[in-house]
């Protein structure tokens, strides 16, 4: 059984195709980086894995569950870290509120977080190095800290599959290093990770495979096979300079 299996997936927003004929499978416990130019459908691909993008054709399975047929069951297994910009940071919530949200699908309806949920949330916050900010207002945090809290929220869910949408964007260098370390530790624990990433350098030594996307799968394979000038040029077209890859 694969962690993620996509079969001929086509997604349309209105009359516009966002993804066409996407097929790939990902082994459990592996680390996949999704790359591609702006508008290539990278975020849409993550949303398709969550069963949240309008599917026109194809099948998406996560841990063997068809996400479009059983979305709630599948989503409980998936931790999702959205782009920080999609969050309304002006909503008055504390850091602990945000991290505890990761536990909500496990807690279920009409019930409040227990001591165990609070402990798991605290552990998740500790993993990203922000345990001392448990009671701080979310809005008081820097961009990098907010990103780490959102990662802690996904970790509190104890996911089997972790999806991250540009976790390093607009994040300072210390936060980037901490996020990279957390992802490395998770991979060692056997969590399957898929991240949309632009600057792959920081994660290169931990990544098992790269999926190069531009509405279609341009290339999918080991980083050394995909991150080559002639392959990248097919996704990014022109106007890009490549520095030779060294792992």
């Amino acid at each position: 059984m694969y962690a993620v299996e996509m079969n001929d997936v086509t997604i349309y927003y209105g009359m516009h195709p966002a993804l066409e004929g996407i097929s790939f499978s990902l082994d459990k416990g592996s680390f996949l980086a999704i790359m591609g130019p702006n508008g290539a459908g990278k975020t849409t691909l993550l949303k398709a894995i969550l069963g949240m993008a309008p599917l026109v054709k194809g099948h998406v399975r996560v841990m063997g569950i068809d996400v479009y047929e059983h979305p709630l069951r599948a989503r409980k297994l998936i931790g999702y870290v959205p782009q920080k910009e999609s969050i309304d940071a002006t909503v008055p919530v504390l850091v602990r509120d945000v991290v505890l949200m990761g536990r909500f699908s496990r807690i279920g309806l009409f019930r409040r977080p227990s001591k165990i949920d609070e402990r798991k949330a605290m552990d998740a916050l500790d993993m990203v190095g922000l345990a001392d900010l448990w009671d701080a207002p979310f809005i008081h945090l820097s961009g990098g800290q907010q990103q780490r809290v959102l990662i802690a929220r996904a970790l509190a869910q104890e996911p089997e599959l972790l999806l991250l949408d540009e976790p390093f964007s607009q994040v300072d260098y210390p936060s980037q290093r901490i996020i990279a370390k957390v992802l490395r530790d998770l991979r060692e624990e056997g969590v399957t990770i898929i991240t949309v990433i632009h600057n792959i350098g920081i994660m290169l030594e931990y990544i098992d495979s790269v999926l190069l996307l531009n509405r279609k799968v341009i290339a999918y394979g080991r980083p050394e096979d995909v991150l080559r000038g002639e392959v990248l040029r097919r996704a990014y077209e022109k106007g890009i300079t490549f520095i030779p890859l060294r792992r």
């Binding site: 949240m52 709630l72 989503r75 909500f104 309806l109 009409f110 979310f138």
Partner: protein
């Protein structure tokens, strides 16, 4: 000393309207639905006016028809918001339609015009025992939903997409939120009025937002400010012989203005302002 019964009903209606509007108003403000609450109030007005036109003056009949008009707008706005489309334009169109219907129905009224006007501007002293009971039932329904689904409401308010991705019942929470907003506004139509309901759904939550960074405290503070606005406004209006809903609205917006000035969120601005004033004073000979 015994108070006349209409005063007791009025006082309770003012208090309960303040509580209901301002607790639900927290989500209206945080989710940017202020315009929607105005739209719902006018849709409810159209429904209530139709009830009067049909000769139905029973409180439950007015409330039912008002709700029948208000709910579709709330759900439609919720649908538009869920799809990430421009909610203001969708509500604007519905607002115009409902306001047109309301004016049409009121214009066609041969009798009950006083009742119709009380729905526009509010008539807290005219609240009857039956209306008070309906208000209490609404509070029970609205608060039960808010308490039972509080954690889901908090999540969808902070990050709707994240809530859907998390696998919680985000859509259900989203639409139930629209449902309680519609029910709240319809319930207070008689006591506060379609035009002034806006002040109670937005004023106290805004005041509370300025005072805290914690949503739990914000709801408590907003409810307290809403009740204080209702009570103070009612007593002031009674004392000065002024329209109660207008004074309640003025008190609510007055408290919001004061909280803006003393807000911990704005202290930095205040400090800058105070610093500038001091600099100017020091420069003077």
């Amino acid at each position: 000393m015994w108070l006349p019964l209409f005063l007791v009903y009025g006082l309770l209606a003012a208090l309960l309207s303040g509580l209901l509007c301002s607790s639900v108003g927290t989500f209206i403000v945080l989710r940017g639905l202020a315009f929607m609450s105005a739209g719902i109030a006018h849709a409810a007005l159209a429904g209530a006016a139709l009830a009067l036109l049909l000769g139905q003056t029973e409180p439950w009949a007015i409330l039912s028809l008002a709700f029948l008009f208000a709910l579709p707008l709330a759900l439609f706005a919720g649908y538009v918001g869920e799809k990430g489309l421009r909610m203001d334009i969708a509500i604007g169109v519905m607002f115009a339609l409902d306001m047109g219907l309301a004016v049409l129905f009121i214009g066609m009224l041969k009798e009950y015009t006083v009742e119709a006007w009380s729905l526009i501007f509010g008539d807290v002293l005219g609240v009857t025992f039956e209306e008070l009971v309906l208000m209490l039932i609404s509070i029970l329904i609205v608060n039960s939903i808010m308490i039972l689904l509080y954690k889901e409401f908090k999540f969808v308010t902070f990050d709707y997409e994240g809530a859907v991705a998390n696998g919680i019942h985000a859509r259900m929470a989203h639409y139930l939120m629209m449902f309680i907003i519609a029910l709240t506004i319809v319930t207070v139509l008689k006591s506060v009025g379609a035009l002034l309901v806006f002040a109670l759904t937005v004023g106290p939550p805004f005041a509370a937002y300025e005072l805290t960074h914690n949503m739990d405290y914000m709801i408590i503070a907003s409810s307290a400010i809403g009740m204080i606005s209702g009570l103070t406004g009612f007593l002031l209006a009674l004392y000065a012989d002024l329209p109660a809903s207008a004074v309640i609205a003025l008190v609510a917006t007055g408290i919001a203005s004061i909280s803006l000035l003393i807000s911990p969120r704005r202290r930095k601005c205040c400090r800058v302002l105070i610093g500038r004033v001091r600099m100017l004073k020091e420069k003077r000979p």
